[in-house]
């Protein structure tokens, strides 16, 4: 199964560069040979960001396989990235849920 991933970044900020680097590493380690990454700069393609309702950068969108999922941040938390890509060896949903809603 091919993973189609799209990463939205803003120019060449620290967050952007770190996210690209972190994503490459995860993919090489866990998805070698079965992933495509498309990096999109929202400053150059705001329309694409609008269509996908991207709010934050960096945002990683897992377009395939379904379900489509968004992961925001510089992807420095490897476990969360794996969870978001459905590659997690163990279920960390509970932990993730509490953090996602914690600041509301």
């Amino acid at each position: 199964m091919i993973y189609k991933l799209r990463l939205y970044v803003t120019g060449r900020t620290h967050n952007s560069l770190r996210a690209i680097e972190n994503l490459r590493r995860v993919c090489e380690e866990d998805l070698r040979g079965r992933y495509e990454i498309e990096v999109i700069d929202v400053l150059e393609h705001p329309k694409l960001a609008e269509n996908e309702r991207i709010m934050a950068t960096p945002t990683l969108v897992k377009k395939l396989p379904v379900p489509v999922r968004k992961i925001i941040g510089d992807l420095s938390d490897r476990d969360k990235v794996l969870f978001g890509l459905d590659l997690s060896p163990f279920d960390i949903a509970g932990e993730n849920q509490s953090e996602a809603n914690g600041g509301a």
Partner: protein
């Protein structure tokens, strides 16, 4: 009302910020021209207080009235919901989108989508989308609707706050005029939630939707406009599908009326003489008296006089049905039915209870606008007092009065006093300062007989007779006779006779007896 706005704008001193007209009826008057141009204004209010409607009207007016494109950034309602919700106001957002006069940035969370956070982020994508939308259509007006809904989408509210500050600064840099709406949890207390007011504290508008005598009453208050003049305090407003938001500016316009020297007849020739030759055309007349003293007759005579001179008259009935009004009039020789057919008279009967006073005011203004009468009568004004608190009643009267005077129309209101003789009513105390002429109708008990007395209590700007005159009512209408002589205290309800008068009366008695 645009000329008034223009005048306000020219009133601005140098150094004051330029104003951007919102086109919202009444708002530009209390804002003395409009929103501070190129700045951000925070509109805060509880749920259902009308924040989104005001924001959207500001934007829709920009497109339709001022040819200024606008951007909606929506955080809570989806674009489709927004478009549907304001269709009834006649604002065709879809058409504006198609014409590239409007762009919508959809910042609502996707339903059911749990965003996973992994490491640090900011909202640069949102910033880029907003800036792109503004540039693409050349927007001059931007609204950020319900920014509070942005906070639960992210775990770190300080990031959100920082990013909102960045958006706020960015918008200022782009020279657009922005409205941010923010929900409050209570009608009083702090401006809003999430500390948003910390960075858009320059210009704050508060909307309230309080319960007042079991009726909802909407008010708007400009808390502050930094560097720009504005009216202080709360002003009532209404929202309806015909006119959208209507702010009732009250005293803000009260003192700006021109006055006219032209006189019109009250319909009672002797009363005209008592008033020094008739009523001023742009004056407001209050006829006050107990039940059965002839207030409705006075109204009928006043309407008859209008019909006779070929002027349009508009009668608002608040206590009697059309049929009753027609019947009473025909008893006094006035054919209101024919007059309505001829298009010279319109009778509008609405019981006060059917809606709030603010809505009554809007409806009545609309009736006046549609019919363009030379004379307006409200029979009775005091009936409206039943359904409201004193404050909103006073605002209602001021609103109607200033509207009528503004159009150089004559207004006649009736007021029913609760006491049969003498006394004053709440209505009198509330609205007597607003009216130009007050005519009192009173029962007078003299030697065991009920008689009626009339006096012109005040008439602004002219001489008037000060006597209390007796009048009688018969099938032909009202007949004013001689003043009551030798009697005083009529207005207090306790008439007393002067000694000399009593003596003469006794003399007369004996004379009568000696003759018989």
């Amino acid at each position: 009302m645009s000329y008034q706005t223009d005048r306000h704008m020219s009133d601005r001193k140098p150094g004051h910020l330029e104003a951007m007209e919102t086109g919202i009826t009444g708002f530009d008057q209390i804002a003395m021209g409009g929103l501070p141009k190129g700045r951000t204004t925070l509109v805060a209010g509880t749920a259902g207080s009308g924040k989104t409607v005001i924001a959207l009207e500001f934007l829709a007016n920009g497109v339709t009235k001022f040819d200024e494109p606008g951007v909606i950034v929506t955080f809570e309602e989806t674009p489709l919901d927004l478009i549907r919700n304001v269709e009834s106001f006649g604002w065709d957002l879809q058409q504006m989108l198609d014409d590239n006069k409007l762009a919508i940035v959809n910042a609502t969370p996707e339903p059911g989508e749990a965003v996973i956070e992994s490491g640090s982020y900011d909202l640069s994508a949102l910033v880029a989308r907003i800036e792109h939308a503004i540039r693409e259509i050349g927007a001059k007006r931007v609204i950020l609707d319900a920014v509070g809904a942005l906070f639960p989408q992210f775990s770190d509210s300080s990031v959100v706050r920082n990013e909102l500050r960045r958006i706020h600064n960015g918008l200022r840099g782009m020279g657009v005029t922005t409205l941010i709406t923010l929900e409050r949890t209570e009608e009083e207390g702090g401006v809003g939630r999430f500390g948003v007011e910390e960075f858009v504290a320059d210009n704050v508008v508060i909307l309230r939707n309080r319960l007042d005598n079991e009726k909802r009453r909407r008010t708007i208050e400009i808390l502050k406009f930094r560097g720009a003049p504005h009216q202080k305090g709360e002003y009532p407003f209404t929202i309806d599908v015909d006119d959208g938001v209507t702010v009732i500016p009250l005293s803000a316009i009260e003192l700006k009326q021109k006055s006219s020297d032209i006189r019109v007849s009250s319909g009672v020739a002797e009363l005209d003489r008592m008033c020094g030759g008739g009523m001023y055309r742009d004056s407001i007349i209050l006829v006050s008296g107990a039940t059965g003293t002839g207030k409705t007759l006075t109204v009928t005579e006043y309407i008859k006089a209008a019909i006779r001179s070929g002027e349009r008259a508009l009668l608002f009935g608040s206590e009697e049905s059309r049929e009753q009004i027609m019947r009473n009039a025909s008893n006094w020789g006035a054919d209101f039915e024919q007059a309505e057919k001829d298009g010279i008279l319109r009778i509008v009967c609405r019981y006060p209870e059917v809606m709030s006073l603010e809505d009554h005011l809007i409806q009545m203004k609309r009736d006046i606008r549609d019919f363009r009468p030379a004379r307006v009568a409200v029979d009775s004004m005091s009936a409206f007092e039943r359904v409201s608190s004193g404050k909103s009643f006073r605002e209602f009267v001021i609103g109607l009065t200033s509207h009528i005077k503004h159009l150089e129309t004559t207004g006649l209101f009736t007021n029913t006093t609760s006491m049969l003789m003498g006394g004053e009513s709440i209505t009198e105390t509330h609205i007597s300062t607003i009216t130009d002429t007050i005519i009192l109708l009173r029962y007078v008990e003299l030697q065991g007989v009920m008689r009626r007395g009339l006096t012109v209590l005040k008439m602004r700007g002219t001489w008037h007779e000060k006597d209390i005159r007796e009048y009688v009512i018969d099938n032909h209408g009202m007949h004013i006779q001689e003043p009551f002589k030798g009697v005083h205290g009529i207005l207090t309800g306790v008439p007393t006779y002067s000694y000399a008068q009593e003596r003469r009366r006794l003399d007369d008695m004996f004379e009568d007896e000696s003759r018989s």
